[in-house]
């Protein structure tokens, strides 16, 4: 029986189309904003690089939730830190975004704009009062109404410094710089005394640095960036001075958090931001540095340190809205945030939790001293990272800053260009 070419072509097209048909959005079902029904069903919870260190904790939380709501089953998936945004974007585009997702405000913004994040002002308004007002507001998106994630843990991230290098440069190791003016003065002195061999910083300024310097990052409406004002230019000019004096590491223009961490470990730079987890790393990999480690608050000229906020978002396409909302709230309620904070140096975003004696009472150890200081600074901390500041915008700013530091552009021209590019990208985001 001969087979016509047309039949063959149709069969081939079908063969091609069949597997592809499985790649559709898949997110048609669900989507209810009503969280008041019965808490039941199978949901998936995705965390951001937490399994390695907190497996038992999360398994315990899930077991407690399933015990409280016997008709539910929570599947926990954890994704590595590297490429987390790409993983979420692939899932979101493919319609396979988990029901409950660990996010940061800048990740929530595009998901909310695409209608994939549940508006908690509507679906979970009753829980709002349980959280610090500032933390709840951190997942609001300029230009949109609503709040798109439960606030989870907060952090300020300490600034580590090498006391030995400070001492060698004739600086008092017990009084590290607090403001940017102090930092610039100390950095220049350190570079001069070490003949340009020891830099103070390993990274170029980021948008958060501009914020902590007191630069207005966006206009009031959140519709345009404004960090090219006189203050922004002044700060960049100062960084240029540091770069020329080698007070800013020569490789800062291509630095990554990993490479600058390595420079701090090898005592090539005197100061580096980090997290409490780094202390263990210093102890193991650089015992000499660990003996001389100093811990201080982030540099700020506004009196407010930068606050990093983690959130837990509910997928608006979930088929089990009540269970997903209940679980997202369960993970982030005061009791669980407090128990999580006792496992790792993070801080709860729930109202009143920071007044717990755990965050206020000294016990003579360095660890507690750092914790109390951080909790205190968190009370008036600001999340300086604009929610709408995308990866592409970070690259645009970084490249223009690099041009200014190399002297290819004036600080004013560089910031004007950065603002122009960021505003174009902002408009393209819609």
């Amino acid at each position: 029986m001969p087979i016509s070419r047309r039949t063959l072509a149709a069969a081939a097209a079908l063969c091609l189309a069949l597997p592809l048909s499985a790649c559709g959005s898949g997110g048609d079902g669900g989507g209810s904003t009503d969280a008041s029904g019965k808490v039941e069903g199978d949901i998936t919870f995705q965390t951001w690089n937490l399994r390695a260190n907190f497996k038992d904790y999360f398994e315990g939380v899930i077991a407690d939730f399933e015990k409280k709501y016997p008709d539910t089953h929570v599947k926990w998936v954890d994704q590595p830190a590297e490429g987390y945004a790409d993983k979420i974007s692939a899932d979101a585009a493919g319609g396979t975004l988990p029901d409950v997702v660990n996010v940061s405000p800048d990740l929530v913004a595009p998901l909310a704009k695409a209608g994939l994040a549940l508006d908690l002002d509507k679906a979970a308004a009753k829980y709002k009062k349980e959280y610090l007002a500032g933390a709840w507001a951190s997942h609001r998106i300029p230009g949109m109404t609503g709040t798109y994630a439960f606030p989870w843990y907060l952090n300020t991230g300490p600034l580590f410094y090498n006391k030995s290098l400070f001492k060698k440069a004739g600086l008092d190791p017990e009084t590290p710089p607090k403001t940017y003016d102090d930092l610039f003065a100390d950095a220049l002195e350190l570079a001069e005394k070490s003949d340009g061999k020891v830099a103070t910083l390993a990274n170029v300024p980021t948008i958060e640095d501009f914020g902590r310097y007191g630069v207005e990052l966006m206009n009031k409406q959140g519709t345009a960036f404004t960090f090219n004002d006189a203050k922004g230019v002044q700060m960049l000019a100062k960084y240029k001075e540091l770069y020329d004096a080698k007070a800013l590491d020569p490789q800062a223009l291509t630095a990554t958090p990993e490479s600058s961490g390595r420079k701090f470990l090898t005592e090539a730079v005197a100061m580096n931001p980090g997290s409490a987890l780094d202390l263990g790393n210093f102890k193991k990999q650089a015992p000499n540095l660990y003996k001389n480690i100093g811990i201080t608050d982030q540099i700020t000229s506004t009196g407010h340190v930068n606050m990093y906020v983690m959130g837990v978002m509910v997928n608006s396409k979930t088929r089990h809205t009540p269970a997903a909302v209940a679980f997202a709230h369960f993970v982030t309620d005061a009791e669980h945030q407090m128990s999580f904070a006792k496992k790792v140096a993070i801080f709860p975003s729930t109202a009143g939790s920071l007044d717990d004696p755990y965050f206020t009472k000294e016990d003579g150890t360095d660890e507690t001293r750092v914790r109390i200081a951080a909790a205190k600074s968190l009370k008036n901390a600001v999340n300086y990272t604009p929610v709408l500041f995308s990866e592409q915008m970070k690259t645009a700013l970084r490249n223009e800053v690099a041009k200014a530091l190399q002297g290819k552009e004036s600080p004013k021209a560089a910031l004007d260009n950065a603002v122009k590019q960021c505003n174009t990208l902002l408009q393209q985001q819609g």
Binding site: A12, C15, L16, S89, A109, K113, Q251, Q392, Q428
Partner: protein, 300 residues
């Protein structure tokens, strides 16, 4: 029932028109799903303003027009082209010389062949990180340079040195791979030709130029074509050594890095990144044609 009683040869003949397609189906399916569909999808996307989470609408050639005014695109095109110009001659000539060295059957030569091939099987990420440590301002190479009085060299902070360093890593990593290809070609060069040339008084260099090179010319063209396509599409080496931002002020960005940076993430511009991908495709095909054409011209 008719089939079962039919002669065997007739049964086979009856299935003939369909059978080849059946055998080819798995391959066609894989090609269709993983090559053809993404290719067509990229072409279609390049004509839209699609974003990661927003389907986008048809914008015609707007993305291509935008490319013409995008400084970063021209930087990417410049760097990818420089990469081809820097890497391809080295990868055509050096592995041939290396193959000539290890071709001789002398005791212990297997060790050298394996040693030269080792970088090929090593993970590019591991290799990249090792070279970053070596070339760091306080790395081994700079320490050596400092100890001999040259002073520190900013291999990883100067845009041109960074690109050159990445090229060096690509060449170092690719030597073994192309050496194996040349070894296979050299095995087919008749020994008598060398002997005859030697009898005629040709020295080693003369024999290399008049016997070896013409004999492996088609392999050289193949290596040239393969390495030029790979060099134009370079990503890993530059990404690992220059960082995600593409070196100081993004000056070391290559076209494929630009595709990655522009098109990924939650706010990725899929349409624009697809337009850059189309340009990469066109240039790559043009490069292949250029090399093959040069080969044909040489033959005539």
């Amino acid at each position: 029932m008719a089939l079962s009683t039919a002669p065997r040869a007739q049964r086979v003949r009856r299935q003939l028109p369909f059978s080849p397609w059946l055998f080819a189906a798995p391959g066609l399916l894989v090609t269709g799903v993983f090559i053809l569909y993404p290719f067509v999808s990229t072409l279609v996307n390049s004509l839209t303003d699609r974003r990661t989470l927003i389907p986008g609408k048809f914008v015609g050639l707007a993305n291509f027009r935008e490319l013409l005014h995008d400084d970063m695109f021209w930087i990417g095109l410049r760097n990818s082209t420089l990469y081809v110009l820097g890497v391809v001659p080295a990868l055509v000539v050096l592995p041939l010389l290396l193959a000539l060295l290890v071709q001789k059957n002398i005791p212990g030569i297997t060790f050298f062949r394996s040693a030269f091939y080792t970088p090929v099987v090593a993970s590019i990420v591991v290799v990249g990180l090792i070279w970053v440590w070596l070339l760091d301002e306080r790395g081994l190479i700079n320490s050596l340079l400092e100890s001999v009085g040259v002073g520190r060299v900013g291999f990883l902070s100067d845009q041109w040195l960074l690109l050159l360093s990445a090229m060096a890593v690509t060449v170092w990593k690719g030597l073994g791979y192309y050496m194996i290809i040349y070894l296979a070609a050299l095995a087919n060069v008749p020994r008598e030709l060398h002997e005859a040339a030697a009898v005629d008084g040709a020295g080693a260099v003369r024999r290399f130029l008049t016997v070896t090179v013409p004999a492996v010319r088609s392999t050289m063209v193949l290596v040239g074509a393969l390495s030029s396509v790979a060099a134009f599409k370079v990503f890993s080496e530059v990404y690992l050594m220059a960082g995600p931002s593409g070196g100081p002020a993004g000056e070391d960005t290559t076209l494929v890095m630009l595709v990655q940076r522009t098109g990924t993430g939650l706010t990725g511009r899929v349409g624009y990144a697809s337009a850059i991908s189309v340009v990469v495709f066109v240039v790559t095909v043009a490069l292949m044609l250029l090399v093959l054409r040069a080969d044909r011209r040489d033959e005539t």
